[in-house]
């Protein structure tokens, strides 16, 4: 098996040879960026900076894990950015309502609510695309407007802020705290990714998902319920948004109508940079995580370096992403 580019259909490769290049490529791109970063500004390589950068990539990384499911099933979800804003707003409003007297219980219920609302929003997306038979691009463009509009309405165009200082102090460590020296958001990224990888690579559902993404008709004739598999992929995406919200709310303790704007594009970029094909049928969980790191690091390097004008940052970021993709592709062809 020399042709590592052959798209896997259904069964995942068992040999490590098959995997190597395609899976390693994003990591090679990441390593090159790290070297570039060090030359741009030595303080880039400091532990404090790297943990900062990886910590704040958590939102995109976790959302992108869900997007990996949706995209490998042959779908697309444009609504995730506004979904973050909507679910986070609901969560903060619930916390502000003080429905439960005990703060720990209140927080626990709010977290469950966020996960539940995320899953519900994902289910709505899934049902509209599968049962409603609307192209995912249009369906999720519609829900993107709906979630964004509802957020603006809930906040009356302003901000929704967690009012209770004590509650905020209680919840803050979820973003700013650390376990054994590792910031909690980083732990959450890897735990979520491990679960996502297990489900995608080691369970029947995961195989069905890839089968549906690579060839819908064949999957249907093999007795797979295509609609069910796709709908669940959107629910997984919604759950991932819920997890991202759990980390987002403790950071600033507030949302506004501009929360999460364009995050959907960043998530999709992370997925593609990570080696998952937009046409579906291939899903690379660890590549996605790596892709999210790459996106955040590119921005970080731009800011730390002294030779890029602030007006050119967008252009250089775009160029670096394309170069990273080229490096990856050239490795995959070997």
């Amino acid at each position: 098996m020399t042709g590592a580019t052959t798209p896997e259909t259904g069964a995942k490769p068992k040999t490590s040879r098959d995997w190597d290049m395609a899976a390693i490529a994003p990591f090679v791109a990441l390593a090159l960026l790290l070297v570039l970063g060090y030359f741009a500004n030595p303080s880039f390589a400091s532990l404090a900076n790297l943990t900062n950068v990886i910590t704040r990539s958590a939102f995109i990384a976790i959302i992108a894990l869900g997007a990996t499911y949706v995209i490998s099933s042959g779908g697309l979800d444009l609504s995730v950015g506004s979904m973050v804003a909507f679910v986070a707003s609901l969560m903060i409003m619930f916390l502000n309502s003080g429905a439960i007297a005990d703060p720990v219980m209140l927080l626990a219920c709010a977290m469950l609510l966020a996960l539940g609302m995320g899953a519900a929003c994902g289910l709505a997306n899934g049902l509209i695309t599968t049962v409603g038979r609307i192209e995912p691009f249009i369906a999720t463009l519609g829900t993107m407007g709906i979630f964004r509009g509802l957020t603006t309405w809930l906040s009356q165009g302003g901000a929704i802020t967690l009012k209770d200082r004590e509650l905020q102090a209680l919840y803050r460590p979820v973003y700013f705290g650390s376990v054994a020296g590792v910031p909690i958001p980083i732990v959450v990224i890897f735990v979520t990714a491990a679960i996502a990888a297990f489900v995608l690579y080691r369970t029947r559902y995961g195989r069905h998902l890839i089968a549906v993404g690579s060839n819908e008709d064949v999957a249907r004739y093999s007795g797979i319920s295509v609609n069910r598999v796709r709908t669940i992929a959107y629910v997984v995406q919604g759950l991932c948004v819920g997890v991202a919200v759990l980390l987002y709310v403790p950071r600033l303790g507030s949302t506004s109508a501009t929360t999460g704007i364009l995050w959907e594009l960043q998530a999709i970029t992370a997925v593609v940079v990570g080696g998952t094909a937009l046409r579906g049928g291939v899903g690379r969980i660890w590549g996605t995580v790596c892709g999210a790191f790459i996106l955040e690091i590119v921005g970080n390097i731009m800011l730390l370096s002294n030779f890029v004008s602030e007006y050119l940052i967008g252009a250089i970021q775009g160029a670096i992403i394309i170069i990273a993709m080229l490096v990856q592709r050239s490795l995959m062809r070997k």
Partner: protein, 321 residues
Amino acid sequence: MHRRTFGLSAAGLVAAAAVGPGLALAQDAKKVTIGVSIPAADHGWTGGVVYHAERVAKLLMAEHKGLTVIVKTSPDAASQANAVQDLAVQGIDALVILPSDPDPLVNAIQQVKDSGKFVALVDRAPSVNDGSIRDLYVAGNNPALGEVAGKYIAKTTPDAQVVIIRGLPIPIDQQRQDGFDKGIAGSKVKILERQYGNWNRDDAFRVMQDYLTKYPKIDVVWCQDDDMAVGVLEAISQAKRTDIKYVVGGAGSKDMVKRVMDGDKTVPVDVLYPPAMVATAMQLTAANFYDQVPVSGSYILDATLVTKENAKNFYFPDSPF
């Protein structure tokens, strides 16, 4: 929302009729309708615009018994043009408009003006901004917003090393930057760097984190916007850096004004660019009809420095912004 405002005004009329002409002053019974067209609340500042327009509409109608104020919000320039035409059809005596984008709305405004109505233009001016299109122009002062902040920093911390977070690459952002440079001109204040934060909290958090990594000593952060100040303050508190003396935002959001009022050392001042300016235009328009005072002309609000002493004048706890 409009219906409610309308209902209120109708109630006001009924009340005025019931109380009878004996109590209401003769000139107050004069019937005037003011149409107010503003952008829909899509971020903090426009949220404030809507809040203040509705707040002052009620105040004005309570004050003048014959007055009807209709507030209409529109999400974009095209629908705002329609809203202006709808208002004109309903029969208004005056139009107060904060255009979401002034140039595409010129024709709609011109029509109202040409039919002899009083037109008050707020905040955003079209390329031609003179007596031919409006009677009154009320706006904030972007260059001054930068200049006031620059002067304050140059005066309080003359040797400060400052990092700047800008908004979006659009003209008003550039005006603020130029104003700031003018404000610190001749002082020893040193600008370490400027980067865009897109008037967004999360982006400001990210930029500030990187500034903190890059510069071991920062004295002052000027982020010219209160939304971005939220992200900046959080990044500083996470890094536990004590070298940053204070942060200067701008606009006058309730959270930042509250901090100033409470004497927060990291937020000693704020610079005003008040969404309530739409209310200034409404008040002046009403004055034109009821008080016979001359109001035509340009009315540029100062970028007032909000300090602990005067903060309570600018604090609106019920406003969304």
